[in-house]
């Protein structure tokens, strides 16, 4: 087995036992990047100092300096997370040349842990999309079938991990942007509880909904990466002050007696037959493992997509007002007035999907429409949140399909039809709940299918246990991405 195929926890053990060096691991990953990037396009930019980072880690290890489980492990980072001295474009012409002068808190944590940052991954522009087709730097293809989408908006991160172009990755999830690409690419993706990972340095799209998320080829790797990036941060006012365990050392297969809620609304007509079959078969596995299965109902979930698009677009219109061509980013040339500069900079710098969301957000916040749309959506959000929280009186965790279908073909869906596909993932963002996608099957065409596990706030350990138990029970049949 090549080193790029190994999981992070295996590489960590090999590094500790001095059976391998970080440089050897990274050379293998670079070779993989070189051989697959022209076909997959996971990265917007690959770090030019991967080997230098790896050598520094190897030197520190040789000197006996303290190591963390992430030390020497190649990690890819979504291109909306600020990296000091390294381009951070948000896949937009607007930020094509932007080089942050500071690291996001999650990047500082990765660097402190000795992780090797392999590069910045492709995404839908400003994280607005579900297919990574809306990138200024070209679309990302699914490593399982290059004619299909890798999902989005963290499609580059999920594809890189699935393909062996990185061992694990950071993404961001505003409405499903970590879980859906994880599902499409056959990897594990966690959107943690709102407030558990600092958003300092994550370029803002919809601040009340988005979280940095983690992607790995198995649950243990995802738990390991999450343990390193979670935690409170004075630089993020929405960060929650609490302590977190080392999730990897706490993870267990014991899920006997866990009450699993199966919301009937998530298994309606929009779900394809192979996705339904895979999710139902996973639920059956849990039954055999001793979990209690209970059908529950979440009638307000049908309003979740509408609520999400109103609130996220409103927040986007406000957050993206900062791109005016003055302090950073693109500026239109030869403008004669300040107003002309604002209008032309924004019109030339943003892509069509971003403009559409800014327009919708501006509309729902505008005089005469605010009460009917934005305010009503805020009430709807609270009603959905209460319904979700109350549902956890009846169960400990919910299982749903992550997405109604497996990966769709590139170019197959227009933006508006893509919006409705987010129906299963947006509720976790609206409610601030943790949710994780775990591979649970394949279609007849061998495209991966993911199931979503959702829990109470800060119940990430239970989600990890559920994912880990399923992987053990199915002998890892659905794990490993597309590494051949």
């Amino acid at each position: 087995m090549k080193l790029y195929q190994k999981n992070a926890y295996e590489l960590c053990r090999m590094l500790r036992e001095k059976k391998v060096s970080s440089e050897e691991i990274c050379r293998d990953v670079i070779e993989r990047i070189n051989s697959h990037e022209s076909r997959i396009n996971s990265y917007i930019s690959v770090s030019n100092d991967i080997i230098a980072q790896a050598r520094a880690v190897d030197k520190a290890l040789a000197e006996g300096k303290a190591a963390s489980p992430l030390t020497g492990i190649p990690i890819a980072v979504k291109d909306n997370i600020s990296t000091k001295g390294m381009k951070t474009t948000c896949a937009s012409k607007m930020l094509e040349g932007y080089i942050p002068p500071y690291d996001a808190t999650v990047i500082s944590k990765l660097r402190a842990a000795g992780a090797v940052i392999t590069g910045k991954t492709n995404m839908d522009e400003f994280a607005m999309g579900s297919s990574t087709e809306k990138s200024y730097f070209g679309r990302t293809c699914n490593p399982h079938e290059p004619l299909c989408s890798a999902g989005g908006s963290s499609g580059g991160s999920a594809a890189a991990v699935a393909c062996g172009e990185a061992t694990a990755a950071l993404g961001s999830d505003t409405g499903g942007s970590v879980r859906q690409p994880a599902s499409f690419c056959g990897v594990v993706g966690l959107k943690p509880t709102y407030g558990s990972i600092s958003r300092y340095g994550l370029i803002a799209f919809a601040s009340s909904l988005e979280q940095v998320g983690v992607i790995g080829r198995c649950t243990a790797d995802t738990a390991m990466l999450y343990s390193h990036v979670c935690g409170s941060d004075r630089r993020d006012a929405t960060s929650v002050r609490r302590s977190y365990p080392d999730f990897l050392s706490c993870i267990s297969c014991d899920i006997k007696g866990v009450r699993i809620g199966v919301p009937e609304e998530y298994f309606g007509e929009c779900v394809s037959s192979d996705v339904r079959k895979a999710a139902e078969s996973a639920i059956d596995c849990y039954r055999k493992m001793g979990a209690q299965i209970k059908t529950i109902s979440l009638p307000l979930v049908k309003y979740a997509v509408n609520t999400y698009y109103i609130i996220s677009s409103a927040e986007a219109s406000s957050n993206l007002a900062r791109y005016d061509g003055v302090r950073y980013g693109y500026r239109a040339r030869n403008c004669r007035s300040l107003d002309e500069m604002y209008f032309r900079t924004r019109s030339e710098g943003f892509g069509s999907e971003v403009k559409r969301r800014i327009m919708l957000g501006t509309f729902v916040l505008s005089a005469g429409y605010y009460e009917d749309y934005y305010k009503k959506a805020l009430y709807s959000r609270e009603m959905i949140r209460r319904e979700m929280i109350n549902a956890f009186n009846e169960c400990d965790v919910m299982i749903t399909p992550t997405y109604p279908t497996a990966a769709f073909r590139l170019g197959e869906k227009d933006s508006l039809s893509m919006y409705s596909g987010d129906v299963f993932t947006v509720s976790a963002n609206i409610s601030g709940l943790p949710a994780m996608s775990v591979p649970c099957g394949y279609t007849e065409e061998r495209l991966p299918i993911g199931m979503q596990l959702m829990g109470r706030p800060f119940s990430e350990l239970l989600l990890f246990n559920m994912g880990y138990a399923f992987e053990k029970f199915t002998a890892g049949s659905f794990m490993g991405g597309a590494l051949i």
Binding site: Y303, V305, N306, T362, Y379, S380
Partner: protein
């Protein structure tokens, strides 16, 4: 619904060509119709709609960035200032 797309574009500081405006109007109409269906509010007046956030110290955390670093990404600077087109005649 008749959305005044030109007005919304002005508010958003975006400009569109005539053809783009027609497409945006179609898209916006479809989008707004799609998102309009929302539940009737059953949250009682006075009922807190969000959980109270933890109180924090009123503190300013220094960024540690130099003026040069902050100006480093600006499209145009002069003598340590951002440069914009002339605003006062």
């Amino acid at each position: 619904m008749n959305i005044d797309v030109s007005h919304i574009a002005r508010l958003a500081h975006l400009s569109f060509t005539g053809e783009e405006l027609i497409i945006m109007k179609e898209d916006m109409t479809r989008l707004v119709e799609m998102v309009a269906e929302l539940p009737e509010n059953d949250i009682q007046p006075g009922e807190n709609s969000v959980d109270a956030m933890e109180l924090r110290k009123d503190e300013v955390i220094p960024s540690g960035l130099s003026k040069e670093e902050i100006l480093g990404n600006a499209p145009e600077t002069e003598h340590g200032f951002f440069v914009v087109p002339k605003t006062v005649e």
